[in-house]
Structures are given as C-alpha cells and as structure tokens.
Subunit: 348 residues, 5 copies
C-alpha cells in the first residue's frame, strides 16, 4: 500500500484543533493536525473527511491506532448503523436521512465516526449530512467542547436525529395523500403504497439501531465516563429517536391497512361492475323480447299480404267487394291481437 | 430572549399556593407566586398555564431550575407521552383524549407537567383536559394535598386516564355499528373501518406509554419517596390504563378482522352477481332459441304463400277447386310440424 | 351514605362461619357474622353476596378494612381479571365463562373475591358461577378448610377454571362445524367466523390474566404463606389455564386461516362462475351462428318465390312447361348449397 | 373404590425389575413387582401399562406415593405435554406422533410417565409409541440402566422425539405436493392447505413444550441429580426438538404463503377469464354485425322482388322487354352496393 | 465395525500439521497425522475431509475423543447450524450458501467442524465451501495460527459469513426484478415471489443461528479462553451476520408486501376488465337497437309491396294512373317516418 505523502493536499474537507473550547489551528493536512495535537496534549482534533482514499484512512489509522476492521468498514461503506469499541477508540456508523418529495423517496447519507480521547474523525460518503453546521454551532456555543470527544459525538448524533423529523413529516404527508387517492379510487395507488412502504422499511433500518447505539454511548464513552449533563442530552436524542421509530411503525401499520382497504375497495368496485353488468344483461334481455314482439306484430300483416298475393283461381275473398278493406282490417286486427298478447305477457 | 416584566398579566389561567392542604394564596402573576412560596417554605404552588409564551416558560425555568430540554419540548409540543427526570424536577407529557362521535375521531389535548418539591406546573396546549375540576376536587377533599406534588401528579394522571373510558366506549360502539354495516353490505364501510382504525392507532400511542410512566412514578417521585397509599392509587390508575390498552388491542384485532370479513363478503356478493349473470345469460340463450323457433314456425306459411304467389303459367294447384284451402292447410300443417319438432328439441 | 340497619335482611345469599373445618354458624345478617367471628378468633367466614348494595359493601369494608379502590371496582363491575393486594387483604376479580351453543356466544359471570386472614367475601354480578356447589364440596371434604382463606380461594379458582373446559369444547365444536360449512360453500359463514372469533377474543381476555393471578397467589397469600400442598393444587389450576389458553390461541389461528381459505374458495367459485359464463357465452355465439345459418337457408326459397312472383310481362321461365318444378328445384338446390356452405364453415 | 385383588391379571403390558443393568424379574402382577422391589433396595422397576383401569392406577399411587392430581391427569388423558414434580416423583406427559400419508393427518399417542428413585411407570393411551423397542435396546446395551430412572426417561424422550422425524418429512413432502398443485391450478388445494395447516398446528402443540420439559429434566431429575453424560444426551434430544420445531414453523410460514399465492393465482385466472369473456363478447358483437349486414344484403333483392310483384296496372318496367333482367340486375347491384357499404364500415 | 487399515488412502482431502504458524507436515493418512501430533505437543493439526466414511470418522473419534452424538450428526448431515461442547471438544455445524441466479435458488454446503486443543477437523458434505482458500490465506499470514484452534474456527466462520454477501445481493437483485415484473402486470410473478420467498426462508434458517453460535464462541473456546483480538474479529463476523439477517428480514417483508400488491393489482385489472365488459355489453345493446331499427325501416316497404301484391279484384290504387309512384312514395315516407321515430328515440 502506497502511503500518501504527508503534507500533500487530501480529501480533507474540514479540519480543526480545539483547546479549552477555542479553535487553535485549522491545518491543511493530516500531518499538520498530528503535529498540533502532539504539541497540545489537552487539545482535541475534529477531522472531517469526504470519501477519503484508502491511503488517507491508513494514515489516520496509523496515527490514532484505529482498528483494521473499522477501517475495512469505512472503506466498504454500506454498513448498518452501529457502534463498536476497539480498545480506546470508538467506531460509529450513522445514516443521515433526507426526504425527496418529488420522487417520494428517502435518501441516506452514510456517516462514519471514529473517536478517541483527543480526536473525532468524521467520514462522509454522501453530500448529507452537512456537519459544518454542527461544527459552527459548537464553535459559537461557550463550553460546547468541554466534554471533549463525547460532546462532538452528541452534537453529530443530535444533528442526524433532528434530520429525521422532516423525513417523518414528509412520509406522514404522503400517507395522507395516499389515503385520499385510495378513497378517490385511483388505480395507480398500489404501486405508490408499495414504494413508500419500501422507503419506510429502509428508514426504519436507519432509525432502529440508534436506540442501542445511544445506550452504548450512555453507559460510557471511550474514556469510560459520560457526564450527567451529557447523559440528559443523550436521553433527549433517544426520546427523539423513539418518537421517529413510533411514527415509522405507525406508517407501516397504516400502509399495510391502506393496501388492504384498497384491495377491498377494488373488489367493491368490481362487485358494482358485476352488478351493473347483470343489470345491463337484464335490460338487454328485455329489449330482445320487445324487439321480437314487434317483429311478430309486423310479421302478421306480411303473412296476410302473402296469402292474398297467392294466385289460386278460386279464392272467394279476392272477389268480395270489400275484400281489400277486409284484408287490411285483418292485418290490423291480427297485429292488435298479437300486440295485446305480448303486452299481457309483459314483453312490450 | 426578552424576559417578560415580572408582575405583567400572563397566559396564567389558574394559580394557587397551598399549605397543609389549604389554599393560602392565588397570585395573579408568576412573580407573586414565587414570593408566596419564598415566604412559606412548606407550601406548594400549582401553576396552571394555557399555551404559555416562551417568556413565561423561561421565567419559570429560571425560578424552579427547569431543564432546557424539557422547556424545548414544552415549547414545541407534539411530544409522545413520557416522563423525564432532570435532577430534582420531573417533566411529564400526557395526552388527554376526547371522543367526538360525529366525526368518529379522537381528539387529543397534550398536557405537560413539571414538578419539584414545592411546585407543580401544568401546561395545556388544548382546551381539554379541564384541570380545574381536578383542582376543585382536591381542594374540597381533606388531606388531598398531604403527599405534596406527588398527590397532584396522581390526581392529574387519574383524571386523564378516567377520560379514556368514554373514548373506549365510543370506539366500542362504533365497532359494533361497523359490524352491522358490514353485514348489511354497505359499500362505504371500508373507509370507515380504516379511519376508525387510524384513530385507534393514535389512541394506542397515547395510552401505551402510560404504563412505563406510572412505573417510573411508582418507583420514586421527585423526592425519591412515594407513600404506600399513593402507590395503591397509582396501581389503580395503572389497572385502568391496562384495561384501556387491552380494549384498544381488541379493537385493532376486531377492525382488522372485520376488514378481512368485509373483503370476503364483497367477494361473496361478487360471486353471487357472477352466478346471477350466468343464470341470466342462460335464460337469455333459452329465449333466443324460443324466439328463433317461433320465427321459423311463422316463416313456413310465408314461404308457402310466396310459392303460390309465383306467376308460373303451369301450376296445377292454382287451378284446383280446393287449392286455396289446401294452401292454407299446408301452412298450418307446416307450422304445426315445425312446432312439434322445436317442442321436442326443447326450444319452445 | 345511609348505613343499612344491622340485622336487616340483605342481598346476602350464602353465609357461614367455619371453625376447624366445621360450620359453626350460618348468620342471616352481616352483623351476626361479625359477632360470631369476634367470639371465635380462629374461625373463618365465607360471605356470599349477589349484586350487593353499596351499603352492604360499605358495611363489609368498614368491618374488614377493605380498601376504597377495591370497593369502587366491586361497585362498578366490568373489571378485567386481576388480583390486588391492599395491606392484609386481597382483592381478586375472576370471570366465569359459560358457553351458549344456540347463540354461539360466551357469557361471562364476573366474580369479585375479597379475602383476609379470617374471611372470604365472594361477590357475584351474574347467575353464574354457582359457588354453592364449591361450598358444598368443601364442607363435605374433611380438612378442606385447614388452609383457611387460601383453600377457599383455590376452590373458587379451580371451579372457575374447570368451567372453561366446556367453553373450549363448545368453541372447538363450532370451529369444526364452520370448517364443514366453509367447504360446503355456505355463503353465511363469514359472519359466523367473525362472530365466533369475537367471542374467542373476549374469552381470551378472561383466561389470559389468570396465569399472572395464580403466580401472585402462589408467591404468597394474604398472610404471606401458601402451603406446599396448595402450591401443587394451584399449579394444577395453572396447567388447566395454560391448556385453555393454548386452545384459544389455536382457535384464533384456525379462525383466521379459515377466513382466508373461505375468501380463497369464494374467489375460486367466482372464477368457476366466470368460466361458466365464458362457456355459456361461447355456446350462445355458436347458436346465434346456427340460427343465422338456418335463417339464410330458409331465406333462399323466399327470394326465389319473390322473384317468380314478379309481374314482368316477359319472364320466360313463367311460360316453361316445367317452370314451377324448376322454381321449386331452384329453391331446394339454393337451400342445399347454403346448407353445405354453412356446414363447411362450421356454423351448423 | 374396589381395589383389584393383588395377583389378578391386569392391563399391565410390560413389566420388569432391573438390578445393575440386568433384568432380575418380570412379575405378572403389580403386587409381584412391589415385592421384588422391596427385596432389592437398589433395583428399579419399569412398569408398562396400556389404558390402565382407575383401580390399577390407584394401586400404583398407593405403593409409590403418586400425587392425586397426576393420577387425575393420567385418568382423563387429553393433556398437553408437560412435566410436573410432586415431591420425589415426576409426572411427564408426552405426545408421540405418527404421520398417516393417506389421510395427510398426524395421529398422536399420548404417553404418561411417572418416575421416582426406583420406578418408572409408563402409561400409554394409544397403540403408539411402541416402548417395547426402547426397552429392548436398553436391555441389550451394557450400562444403559446405570443412571437409573433418568436413563429410562431419556430413552423414552429420545424415542418420542426420533418419531417426529418422519412426521416432519411427511409434512414437508405434502407441502411440496401442494406447491405443485397450486401452480397446476387445482381448485381443491385450498382445503388441503387448510387441513394440513391444522395438522401442523396440532403437531406444533406437541413439539413446543418439549424444550421446557427437557430444560426441567436437565436441571435435575427426581433425585436432584443428572449426570454429565446424560446431560449431553438430553441436549442432543433438545437439538432434535429444536430442529423439528424450526421445520414446523417453516411449514406454517410456507402454508400461509402458499394460500396467499393461491388466492392470487385464482384472482389471476379470474382476471384471465374476464379477459376471455370480454374478447368473446367483442367477437360476438362483430359476428352480430356481420350477420346483420348479410341480412340487409339479402333483404335488398327481396324488396325489389316485392315491388315488381305489386299488381299496379301502370308499372312501365313490367312491360319493358328487358324488365326481368333489369330487375335481376337491380337486385344484384343493390346487394353489391350494400355489400360494399358494409365492407367499408368494417361490418363484414 | 471394520476399522480402515491405518495408512490406507482415505477421503482425506487436505491435511496439515502446524507449529508456531509453520506447516511442519502434510501426512497422507490420519495415522500419520496422529504420529506427527504425538511427536510435537505444541503443534496443531487441521484435517480436511470430504464426505468421509463412517470408518474414518470412527478413527478420528477414537484418537481425539470425539463424542458419539457429534459423530452421529456428522454422519447423518442435514443438521441445523449449531455449536455443541462435549467436554474439551467443540462440534460446530455451519451452512455455506451459494446463490444460483439461473434457477433463483440458494444452494447450501453443510460444513461440520470438530475442534480441540491441538486439532481442527473440517467435514464437508458438498463442494462448497472451498476451505483451501481459507487455509492458504492463513498459511501466508504471519501469526495467523498463534491463537491455535480458535483462529482456525474464526477463519472458517468468517469465510462462510463472507459468502452470504453475494447471496444477499443476488436476492436483492431478484426482488427488484420482481417489483418491475409485478408492476408490468406479468401473470407468472406469483410463482416467482413464492419460490424466492421459500429460498429466503431457508437462507434465514442458515443465517439466524449464527448469532448464538458466535456468542457461544466469544464466551470461551474449547480451552475456555478467547483472546481480545479474536473477540473483536468475532464481533466483526457477528456484525456481518446481523447485516445479512436484517436484509433477509427485509426481503421477507418486501416479498410479502409485493405479493399483496400483486393481488391488489390483479384485482384492479379484473375490475378494469369488468368495466370493459360492461362497456362492451352496453355498446352491443346499442347496436342491437340500431340493427332492429333498420330492420323495421326496411320492413315497411316490404309490407307495402306485399299489400299491393295482393290479388283482390277491387283495389282502387292499382288502377290509379300514379298508383305505382304512389306506392313507391308510400314506401319511402313510411321508412322515413320510422327513421325519424327511431332517431328521436335514440335507437339510431
Ligand atoms: Mg417513488
Ligand atoms: Mg431510498
Ligand atoms: Mg435533537
Ligand atoms: Mg434538540
Ligand atoms: Mg408528498
Ligand atoms: Mg422508490
Ligand atoms: Mg426533546
Ligand atoms: Mg375520521
Ligand atoms: Mg384524530
Ligand atoms: Mg381513575
Ligand atoms: Mg378512580
Ligand atoms: Mg358512533
Ligand atoms: Mg380501579
Ligand atoms: Mg354471536
Ligand atoms: Mg359474548
Ligand atoms: Mg380444576
Ligand atoms: Mg381438578
Ligand atoms: Mg355449536
Ligand atoms: Mg391437571
Ligand atoms: Mg386431514
Ligand atoms: Mg390430527
Ligand atoms: Mg434421538
Ligand atoms: Mg439419537
Ligand atoms: Mg403425502
Ligand atoms: Mg443429534
Ligand atoms: Mg427455485
Ligand atoms: Mg434451495
Ligand atoms: Mg468477514
Ligand atoms: Mg472480513
Ligand atoms: Mg436474478
Ligand atoms: Mg465489518
């Protein structure tokens, strides 16, 4: 493995050393950071990296004694949220979430955090979460760095969890929209339900492990000590995680129920179609009867006309004075009788 | 943050200081309350607020040492029911529930309670719950304030939980109505089931955390001591919570089952429609056969009439004496034969 | 609250004082019972009440120090099965169950039991359970009262749980009937499944808490001591409760499955109807073709007759010697040709 | 209760006394067994009964101090698998299972086992399980009886659990068959799925309690001691139980899924039928149009023939030399025009 | 049982003895291995077998004191993943998994591992997993054998779990394909969902027990000691197992949901078919009306022609000069009137 030359420009995006809550240095290289730390034993470095190269990670591992397995995870990314303690260092994986309403999807930004007594290394693999906001807030809050690495870990965790709020609200909003869509009979809703549900499942996988992570943090940071005040702040984060988790579980229930309701409604509509078809079929049968009746009624005079059109020599009626009106009368009477018969039978 | 001037009129809706179970003062301002408390070390204040401003909360936080995180929650509202201990103070979130039968919905009134050794602050964000009733009952019950803040917490909790009873009854009633509707074949029921279910899920989220909250209260109030008597009263509340929770779970089961039954019934009706359609189709086919048969029967004399209407010079029948009756007879016989043939074939 | 005059006739339905397993008194009033107990310090009273008035409960509470909350529950009824210890007294709620095969419903008889070192008070709110049988069996069994109140509690619990057996058998029988009904294609079965399921859920709510109740009883009765022998008997009751509970869970599974199967079968029948409809429609189309074919075959001679019925002066055929037979032959041949054409096309 | 005369022939089917792993006696009566045991304090009796009478059980209870409640269970049968310790004796209920492929059902043989320091009593209520095989294997294995009653209990448990293997295989085979049937579109499969599922549920109820039973056995047999070696053998049985349980759970999942798939497939077929029906209906509509078109085409010459069949004195065409061919031409041309019109309209 | 002659060629596929991390011998026979081990007390043997004969297993059991029950399991194969400790030896069953995309199925290779202080025996029953890769990597990594048998166990476990990754990816890919297929309306997808789900269930059964297995390993290997470093590596494996397990659970959820969505979509399509059918039926009814109307319109001139074709002596119109045009006019007018009537009634 080729080491990157110390001092060479790196994927380092944000880097500072703090002492007694004051930023004392912002080295441009990792080597610079190591030097500053060596010179100030009570200082703490917060090194922010964006998609670092394997070489940069190796350099950090070498300096701070980071564990090979943690480095392996940080290189591979696609980890589940977790916390691991390797001797004096902690390795934490978080998933920041961002809701994109246009595609109704949750986008995740994986964040890896290494921490020890005098350093916190944050490794981002996506644009979000934007840790510069967190860093700025801490730098402008007096005493924010007093608890050392633990305080930084808390601030990061808090920022990530605060970011879940808009996701929860976005999904809640979509669930409401889906309800309207379902009851409006929109056929495309099944797909939307399924896809939102898939996002929710993925979000649940990001949120759920955090309760255990906070527990582990609470029961002792890297140096085996977490101040009472920080404990309360961690409990607050835990409360927000539980809140998010409860909502997510509610979404899962609602989406499952709404899919069932949709299936029920589709069946209902189908049942109504079948009823309509049945009614139409009955109407059609009635019409066929009516048409047949009229055909028969019209047929009667035709037959009579046919009969008196026969060329028999001996057909007395043909010689009657009133033979013709008689024939016409016969046609009328025949048709009338048929009409009355069909009327009585309810065909007309 | 601008502090509100002490003594200025506030969102304070109910405010009293009690000593040995007797109301000794009802100050119009928070500042007045603080003064009375300072003058009577064994007194206890119950401060009732309705949608307080951030300034009022800050004033209280300042006086009673309320934790910043609890204040943040109280400002934001939309919290889940929970209890948090911050040093000597407790912060409790409850959700009073109210059932509106007209819209078949559960309305929630979020209630935040801060308590310490000599104060209880209740912060309402909605009209309900009406704590003045609770306060009146305590004021008129001898010894009601003997256990201090704990007794007030119990009374509030009891009132909130007692309020769940009508909700449970209302939902139970709706479930019964829904059953009738389902078995009456009302098509609109799917939506009602879903929406009631959604209310029930929300209600469950209000009720469920109370068991843990009562546990925490039981295992020691702010001053680390809960009298035996109060313990029994808390157990009574817990029993009522469990009762509500059990009913809610039952509702969830019933609503899920009734939706499944509804889908089954819709399918059943659909199947019956299909059967009806099939039967109608068969009836129609029969009628078509019958009509066709009669058409053929009527057609026979027409053909014979046509034949004897032909103008051939040499057509012996035309010269027969009885040619005409013969033709008529032929028509009758032809029709009769066809009638018998179709009768035998079952077409008529 | 007006006290009932001591000695006045009450809702007391069964009342006796036992000493060393022998019934020494059956006082007609509560006051008489209190007097007998006072005179015999090692005696035990079993007071059986049926829907007692608030006054009677107050009199008992006063004498035996029953807790206000327990009394409140006993007055309100509609409690879930539970056990509560208030100082030296126990309060237990049980639900006896009775299966009514005609309506396929489970009827519950709520039973409240108060017990202390020298008394057991049983309060019934329904006809069942019939405790006189339990009392008689204990009175005729030597040593049955040796363990005091605990033995009576066991006997009541055993009677209630033994009563669950027939309920389980009744439901099992109905489930079997439902299976037959489902596979016989009876459309009304959805409702029956749902309603039986509802009864089963309610029954489950009666049975489930008993495991916890027996646990509490086992780990120490009112006087903090349960003999080894009684422990074994309680374990036997617990075993029967578990047995009932397991069956109930099985019923829930089976009823859920059978509903799913029913929906599947209904869909299956629907699919078969659709197939039948499709077949009928095809048959009908064939018949229409056949009828149309015959109409065309019959039409040919009509047209020929029409043609030779025309009155043109110059129509050579009309003057042919064999014009008439020629026309008839033409009719026959025309029809035959059409018949063969349609036959070949498969229309006839 | 009349005691059976000692020495009278009983429902005793297999009875032997062992000492240091050797069969020292096979008494024909229970009394004989008791005598042999009394004469050899370090011997152990294995008494095998098949549907014993109440008297026989009472005789054994009397001799070995069996508990009344265990006897009650053994008389009633229909117990769930369980283990109970009554003082120095153990009472164990097992359910041997047998798969009958013809009826696709699981048949259970309930087995009750009483054991103490010097006896094991096995009570069968069904033909299976065949314990004589177990007994034979133990008699021919050196040292098999060294652990006393515990070794016999292990051997029985092992035999029962080994018997679950073929059941699991039989059900697995049926599940495979059902899959084929479902995808072949066999309509009868819903019933088969349901009924097999019912058997699986019942089998699960036989298998599940065994894990707890083995735990209880492992943590101390009747004499409070289980050798290390036996522990390992029990763990092996437990492993086989877990294996059976896992498969059973898998079957439940698969059967639930396959039912859902079947419903989906039925709906699919229904959808295809509906499509076929729709297509047929369209074809039929087309044919109706075609037939109507031909009817109109044939009708044209009829009308013309009718017109020239009229008897008006003044009809010039009738006197034309070529009137007749003209009429025939008119018929042809009229039909042709109609033919072309209908052809263009797509009716033919 | 006939022992295989020591020194005879066996099913031994890979066999080596290591000392201080260096391979000191690769004996061709088991006997050779035993001899080398006896000569080097601090050496460790890794014996790789492929479908060994019962004799070979017996030889190993004899030499290393392997337990009869473990041997039984190794002979029978078809075990669930598990770990068992028999005195100083461990017996572990693992299932390597391989995804075959062509058949969309997971293939399992059962692997049995025996280990003691100075040996690891790996028994394969399938081609995979290929342990030679693992062995090679360890042989080329300095210090890889320093932790003895435990290090080998870890390496095997790691290789098996690493092999789950591609399975998870393959299934994930298929789930995505299935989603596309479902929303494209492919009818065959139900079967694919079910079959993939079945594979996933089986895979879950391979993965799930590993968490317990790693726990057992972590809390002490055969010699009751696991180094800190190995612990961390085991935790890494555990993390990967959890990751696989979570994905598998996600797949199960998604496949269940997608089946429900598919059923919903099929119902939707069915509903649309029913609507189409209904529309077609209405169109057909309209056409029938139109055709009937035209039939009646055409019929009018026919009747008139028939009437004037009658042979009555006295029919004034026949003698009119303009009788013929009058008749033609009558035909036209009659048809026109009918046309207008039907037009107004909406039949045409
Ligand atoms: Mg989307
Ligand atoms: Mg996403
Ligand atoms: Mg936050
Ligand atoms: Mg915050
Ligand atoms: Mg949206
Ligand atoms: Mg998406
Ligand atoms: Mg908060
Ligand atoms: Mg609503
Ligand atoms: Mg609401
Ligand atoms: Mg209350
Ligand atoms: Mg109350
Ligand atoms: Mg209502
Ligand atoms: Mg109560
Ligand atoms: Mg009923
Ligand atoms: Mg009932
Ligand atoms: Mg009993
Ligand atoms: Mg009994
Ligand atoms: Mg019945
Ligand atoms: Mg029993
Ligand atoms: Mg069967
Ligand atoms: Mg069976
Ligand atoms: Mg076995
Ligand atoms: Mg075995
Ligand atoms: Mg079979
Ligand atoms: Mg085994
Ligand atoms: Mg496959
Ligand atoms: Mg497979
Ligand atoms: Mg690995
Ligand atoms: Mg690795
Ligand atoms: Mg694929
Ligand atoms: Mg890793």
């Amino acid at each position: 493995m080729t080491r990157s030359t110390p001092g060479r420009a790196t994927g380092l995006v944000n880097n500072a050393v703090y002492q007694k809550g004051v930023k004392i240095d912002s080295p441009a290289t990792l080597a610079g950071t190591f030097a500053t730390l060596a010179a100030h034993p009570d200082a703490i470095a917060w090194i922010g990296l964006y998609r670092p190269s394997a070489d940069e990670l190796a350099e950090l591992a070498d300096e701070f004694g980071l564990h090979e397995l943690a480095i392996e995870d940080a290189v591979h990314a696609h980890q589940r949220p977790k916390i691991e303690r390797y001797g004096d260092t902690l390795f934490m994986v978080l998933k920041a979430a961002h809701y994109i309403d246009a595609t109704e999807s949750v986008e995740f930004g994986e964040l890896h955090v290494f921490s020890g007594s005098n350093f916190v290394i944050t490794v981002r693999h996506a644009e979000s979460p934007d840790l510069s906001v967190v860093r700025k807030r801490m730098e402008t809050t007096p005493g924010a760095f007093d608890e050392g690495a633990e305080a930084i870990l808390y601030a990061i965790l808090d920022a990530v969890v605060d970011g879940y709020g808009p996701v929860v609200e976005g999904v809640a909003n979509d669930v409401d929209e889906i309800e309207t869509q379902v009851f409006d009979g929109d056929a495309a809703v099944s797909r939307r339900i399924y896809e939102l549900n898939r996002e929710v499942i993925e979000f649940e996988r990001a949120v759920s492990p955090l309760i255990g992570i906070i527990d582990t943090l609470s029961s002792g940071f890297a140096d085996g000590y977490v101040g009472d005040i920080l404990q309360q702040y961690l409990r607050d984060v835990a409360d927000h995680v539980v809140q998010a988790k409860e909502r997510v579980e509610e979404f899962r229930l609602l989406l499952r129920d709404i899919l069932a309701v949709n299936t029920s409604l589709v069946a209902q509509r189908q049942s109504e179609e079948a009823q309509a078809l049945s009614a139409a079929s009955n109407r059609q049968a009635e019409e066929t009867r009516k048409i047949s009746g009229w055909a028969a009624i019209l047929f009667a005079p035709t037959l009579i006309a046919g009969i008196y059109g026969m060329n028999f020599k001996v057909m007395p009626e043909l010689h009657w004075m009133l033979g013709y009106p008689f024939a016409l009368g016969l046609m009328l009477v025949g048709s009338l009788i048929l009409y009355l018969v069909f009327k009585r039978k309810g065909w007309l």
